[in-house]
């Protein structure tokens, strides 16, 4: 228990008769990347939404770093250390890449309600934001308006927003979708580096990336976890191969 930073028990959510997540139990250890894979519509993104608190679950509990956060709001959960990316890029479209990152730094630095202090003169925030942009390989585009960035760059920016929060855990929802080979490699290297400080629950369809990164993999089908194990165990699991991976691996 002590080595678990995130522990989800019995989490269920139904829309009418349709169970989107069905008694999900999943955990995340310190220094770990735990990948969650499964076919489209399996309930992966809904699970993320329940963990961050934007979708209310019906039953179950969520423990973050020994603290029960089940009844906290989405903002409270973000404040105490849950950081996420969205399946479809969600950025502040008319802000520059740098401004997006600065926004994400505001809460942690207790700057949000500074009413009359010039943001431009806050050197510390700018330096931190620029460092994050370097980490995600976007420093050359720091002044570009976010909505005009390429799809891949927007995915990187999303990850940058999550990094800026310096959270306890990351929940990444398909962060590599639409990235080219170089972008994916950059992301893999970055995730390997950041997991030491904040472990990652990773939803991803790029199986090469998942297998390169994940310490553990869970497979979700029709809202239920059907298997959990190391990459090797999952690759050799017949049920998983039947329902999701296919036979090509």
């Amino acid at each position: 228990m002590k080595n678990k930073i995130l522990n989800i028990k019995n989490l269920s959510k139904s829309y009418g008769a349709f169970k989107v997540t069905d008694e999900i139990a999943i955990d995340l250890n310190f220094n770990e990347i735990h990948a969650l894979i499964g076919p489209n519509g399996a309930g992966k993104s809904t699970l993320i939404k329940q963990i961050v608190g934007s979708v209310k679950h019906d039953i179950g509990s969520i423990i973050l770093d020994q603290e029960d956060i089940t009844d906290l709001t989405d903002i409270e959960r973000a404040k105490i250390g849950i950081s996420r990316t969205f399946q479809v890029s969600s950025i502040i479209p008319k802000f520059s890449a740098l401004e997006n990152i600065i926004l994400s730094l505001l809460n942690k630095s207790n700057n949000t309600f500074q009413l009359f202090k010039s943001l431009k003169q806050n050197r510390e925030l700018h330096l931190k934001a620029k460092k994050i942009l370097r980490d995600i390989d976007l420093d050359s585009k720091s002044d570009e308006v976010a909505s005009e960035l390429s799809h891949g760059d927007r995915r990187k920016l999303e990850v940058g927003l999550a990094l800026a929060m310096d959270p306890k855990v990351f929940l990444f929802d398909e962060p590599m979708a639409g990235l080219d080979e170089i972008g994916t490699k950059m992301m893999i290297d970055l995730f390997k580096k950041i997991k030491a400080n904040s472990p990652i629950l990773l939803i991803e369809h790029d199986m090469e990336a998942v297998f390169a990164l994940a310490d553990r993999v869970s497979v979700i089908v029709y809202g239920k976890i059907v298997a959990t194990g190391t990459v090797k165990e999952i690759k050799s699991n017949k049920l998983v191969r039947d329902v999701y991976l296919g036979y090509e691996i």
Partner: protein, 325 residues
């Protein structure tokens, strides 16, 4: 294309030239008219913070404009009649001193915007529009049914409230007082939108869910913007009462909310000087077209339609295509 910075300087030059021309040609009416533009511009600057920068489409800012106006008139009325305003918890008298009235008008309109904001900001979109409208209309009908302060007929204060060492009845003096408040409200807006808080509320307008996900309490952000916005609009209401030496329920009417919104849209949403330019354009239309037909708003409607179809950045946007949030 000229820079917005240059255009803003041009606006300030014009604001200084107008009263001088009024004096040279002995036309105090134009000074009073320019004062009206400035005061309505202040109301627009207030609404622009909420609507333009934070995306809160308030259709109830007449409430704050009217509250500011009524506070001014009521305090002045009690001072003139030497009546006690409140006798609990201790005797509070009215005042005809602007330096006392302004803080009261700002405080009470802020209080109203806090209460209205606390309830209405739980909604969004069309529900927010309707709930803010409903609050303003409640105050409108309350003022009509309040005989102590004139009811439907409104309340006259005969003399403008005073400011030490100044003759506020002089049109130029009152113009300069209003101008200094305009400068202050624009400066406050400028400081706010360039602060960390400003970044937060401008982000809320664009993608509230994302702002929440980075741990920013968007409800508090929106509420604070709404209160500041209401306070500035309330101050404008106070000045408007002094300008006219009269207040009536019409300042609380939904039409006033609509007009303040029109100033913002005409001038340019989320442009610092947009509401002032919009108010000036509105008054010019009223004065010119209104001389030919009492239904001059027909042409205003046509202009608004054309603007929304072809020039959404408003008048300010015609001079500078800089993107706004």
């Amino acid at each position: 294309m000229i820079s917005e910075h240059f255009f803003n300087k041009w606006i300030w030059s014009l604001l200084l030239i107008i009263p001088i021309c009024g004096l040279i040609f002995d036309e105090p009416y134009y000074i009073t008219l320019a004062t009206k533009v400035i005061i309505l511009g202040i109301a627009g600057v207030g609404l622009n913070l909420a609507l333009g920068y934070c995306g809160l489409i308030s259709f109830g800012h007449a409430a704050f404009f009217g509250v500011g106006g009524y506070v001014t008139a009521i305090m002045s009325y009690h001072a003139i009649n030497e009546e006690i305003l409140f006798n609990w918890p201790f005797d509070i008298f009215g005042s005809s001193e602007m330096l006392i009235i302004w803080p009261f008008a700002i405080f009470i309109s802020s209080f109203f915007s806090l209460i209205i904001g606390l309830l209405s900001l739980r909604t969004s979109g069309v529900y927010f529009i309707m709930i803010t409208l409903a609050f303003a209309q409640m105050l409108y009908f309350f003022s009509i049914s309040w005989p102590n302060y004139g009811g439907e007929d409104g309340l006259s204060i005969y003399m403008r409230n005073s400011l030490p060492m100044l003759n506020t009845m002089n049109p130029l003096t009152f113009y300069l007082i209003s101008l200094s408040w305009l400068l202050t409200s624009i400066y406050i807006s400028y400081k706010l939108i360039n602060s960390p808080f400003g970044m937060a509320f401008q982000a809320v307008k664009q993608n509230e869910e994302r702002v929440k996900s980075v741990g920013i309490e968007t409800f508090k952000v929106k509420l604070l913007v709404f209160v500041v916005s209401g306070a500035i609009t309330g101050l404008a209401g106070s000045l408007y009462t002094d300008l006219n030496r009269f207040v009536s329920p019409s300042v609380l009417d939904w039409q006033t909310s609509g007009e303040i919104m029109v100033f913002v849209i005409l001038g340019g949403i989320a442009r610092l000087y947009g509401p002032l330019v919009g108010a000036a354009f509105f008054i010019i239309l009223e004065q010119t077209l209104g001389a030919y037909t009492e239904n001059w708003q027909f042409w205003l409607g046509l202009i608004l339609i054309l603007e929304i179809l072809y020039a959404r950045t408003g008048i300010m946007g015609l001079f500078n295509k800089k993107k706004t949030i």
